[in-house]
């Protein structure tokens, strides 16, 4: 019975892994992946030159962590609020509106952001000028972009993620709430003592799944919001955008593969570590 699944995993996940040798090869088109000469660790070097590797690794982890926390926390809140809404039409409208940003591509969001924050004609500065305040040049304040990226990331993902939490909430036995009503619990007490503990396993699974990709920046998001704007690199450059830019001009396959390899190895280490911690705290919640 399990044979097809095993086969699929082998074909989709294990066989392509042999491509990782590319990270240690000096790739030649006429010799192919396995025929190309070995290059040792040469392909990894550019990534760590002049400290960029450390900076972009830090940025990637940092953004993924705050995005994970903010967007998951907000999704949970939204899910709880929406399930507490009584009016059916109002509930549907709310849910659709929150879900809508998920369908807007980052390319368009990038244009929104430029039109909001550009110095001369942006909405943000137009509002400041209307209130007789000095316009602010957002593009010269790299630290502001941490907030901008965080806000837009949550705005885009909250609706989508909240669906998972809503599914978890609808699965909670209604008798618990009835019993709480009879005991005279108010709505906040019900949320704290029934809803929250019941969806705890879902929260943990979501966290673990996202931690697994903590070293992969959401390339579309960063690239569409920041682009090639060097002014903001210190706070917004993540591994994926750095690699994309560095190799746009040279398209060296070995160097790209090297960074993928680095990301994958670090991801593995992190997910093993986090799963280990979860296991220690509560065995039931761990992934494996």
């Amino acid at each position: 019975m399990i044979a097809p699944a095993v086969l699929l995993t082998i074909i989709l996940s294990y066989i392509p892994m042999s491509g990782l040798v590319l990270a240690f090869k000096n790739f030649r088109y006429d010799l192919g992946v396995f025929g190309s000469p070995w290059a040792g660790f040469e392909n990894f070097k550019y990534f760590f030159l002049s400290g960029t590797g450390a900076r972009v690794t830090f940025n990637t982890i940092f953004y993924n962590l705050i995005n994970l926390i903010t967007s998951q926390f907000l999704s949970m809140l939204v899910a709880i609020f929406i399930t507490e809404i009584f009016g059916k039409t109002y509930k549907k409208i709310c849910q659709s509106l929150i879900f809508l940003p998920y369908f807007i591509s980052w390319v368009i969001v990038g244009t929104f952001i430029y039109n909001i924050f550009n110095y001369e004609t942006g909405t943000f500065n137009s509002i400041l000028k209307f209130f007789n305040m000095e316009p602010i040049n957002m593009y010269s304040i790299p630290s502001a972009w941490v907030w901008i990226i965080m806000i837009f990331n949550s705005w885009k993902w909250v609706g989508y993620n909240s669906i998972i939490y809503m599914a978890a909430i609808t699965n909670i036995d209604a008798e618990c709430y009835e019993a709480a009503d009879i005991d005279g619990a108010n709505i906040f007490q019900k949320i704290r003592s029934i809803t929250f503990p019941s969806i705890m396993p879902t929260i943990i699974v979501m966290l673990l799944l996202n931690v697994g990709r903590i070293l992969r920046g959401d390339f579309q998001m960063f690239y569409q919001i920041v682009g090639n704007n060097g002014q903001l690199y210190n706070t917004t450059d993540v591994i994926d955008t750095f690699v994309f830019r560095s190799l746009l001009t040279s398209s060296d396959m070995g160097m790209t593969a090297a960074v993928s390899f680095y990301q994958s190895v670090l991801c593995l280490v992190i997910i093993l570590a986090v799963n280990g911690i979860v296991k220690r705290v509560n065995k039931e919640y761990a992934l494996f």
Partner: protein, 506 residues
Amino acid sequence: MKRKLYSLLVSVLAAALVFGGCGSQAGNPSGASDTSAVSTAGSSAQSKIDTSKEAEIVMYIIGNQSPDFENVMKEFNKKSLDDLNATLQVNYLNWGEYKTKYPLILSAGEPIDLIYTATWMNYYYQAQKGAFKPIEDLLPLYCPESYKTITEEAMKQATVNGHVYAVAGTKESYNAYGPVVRKDLMDKYGMKSIDTFDQYGDFLKAVAKNEKGMDPTFFTSTGSEIDDIYMLSKGLYPLTGNSGSIYWIDPKQEQPKVFSKTDWDGMPEFLAKMKEWSDAGCWSKSALANKDTEKMNNGTAASRIKNLEVWVSSNIDTKWDFNFYNFVEPIEILSHMQDAMAVPTSSNNTERALMLLDKIKSDKTYYNLLNFGIEGVNYKIHEDNTIESVDSTKFAFQNGFWGMQMRDFDLNKVGSPETLPQIQKEYHDTAVPNKFRSYYMDTEKIKNEYAAVQNVMEQYFNPLELGYVDPVKGLDTTQKQMKAAGNEKVLAELQAQIDKFIADNK
């Protein structure tokens, strides 16, 4: 569930295909030696070329396919089947994905017979990495007609490690570069001509002061070209041959010394000027976040720094008239490798592909079909020898076929500036040769440092040259960062390459 299974199956198939492709190529590591076998056989006694077997030539070019293209290809293949017993299958790599897809299709092992290549598509890098077949021995045999039109200089520019891997058309592009400026605004502010860098600054300042809601000039997030025209106007030469080069030389020197932009003597003066212009509002404070490349054509910018081609197309495509001022001296013909065609290593029909290429480049009927479509349906030729598109949304002119553009076959489009033929003639007559145009940067040994240096330039120099940071302090930071990224190693390597190049070309 069913749908899920289906999509899984599809992805398995796709993976198998990709993997199979890699496998078959890996199994044949002797791709290079195959070609040499063909070429030796070719040179011995192949005057009579066997075309009895029908061949399908697969060609990859860059662009978005026009809706009418299929009809034109039907017409084209009827002709080529009669003449060469071959059909042509053109595949477009769309603008949105060409950069990532191009190296992938070269390495996937799928047989491709002709592919577009160019300096800006990393021709020299890919040729060194064995992506193309050497064709120097095949060209006289299979491309006899167009072989005659290739200049010695073009051959030299296509040569990598002693082999020719690509063949260019005979189109000439010039290194002329400078501001393209709205004519009505120049008249409005009483400017007769823009001959110097400072006059251009005066124009920008006039627009900044008086035209609210309009950018005097604009840049995109990839950086500006204002430093390039400034340095070009001082007679310096960029080692990449194009704008955006980090490393430059002074070709007038006997033994030119390679230097980086940031270490150039004139840089502090230039940066101070840019700071002044920036503070005067000559460009947006968010210029580096801009992704709109059409600002001048949609009327929200008054000028732009570009070349002859942009000037012509802006005149045709918009309701305004534009003037173009060249700041570069002397006029040179750009490397022919700006646009060329190559035969990938995976090709199975090399001879026939080259014969077809020869046909396209020497037979006007073939040329016009690919470049302009079907006469009467897609284009009309006027009496004054200009060409007009019937419906450019149905069939775009010269869409991706730049690699085989022939100067004698091309016609100016209806609506191009009246002075264009005269300027083209003037450039053609006055152009001087520059031996450094056949030099190419080989970054293989310094790829790590070069990637790091590029990154530093983007992060520190792009904001600096637009006057967003203090010119003195900013330059100092940039220089320090360059040093940390390995600038000295890159300089030493490039200097060695230039010295060798000069010795070889004595």
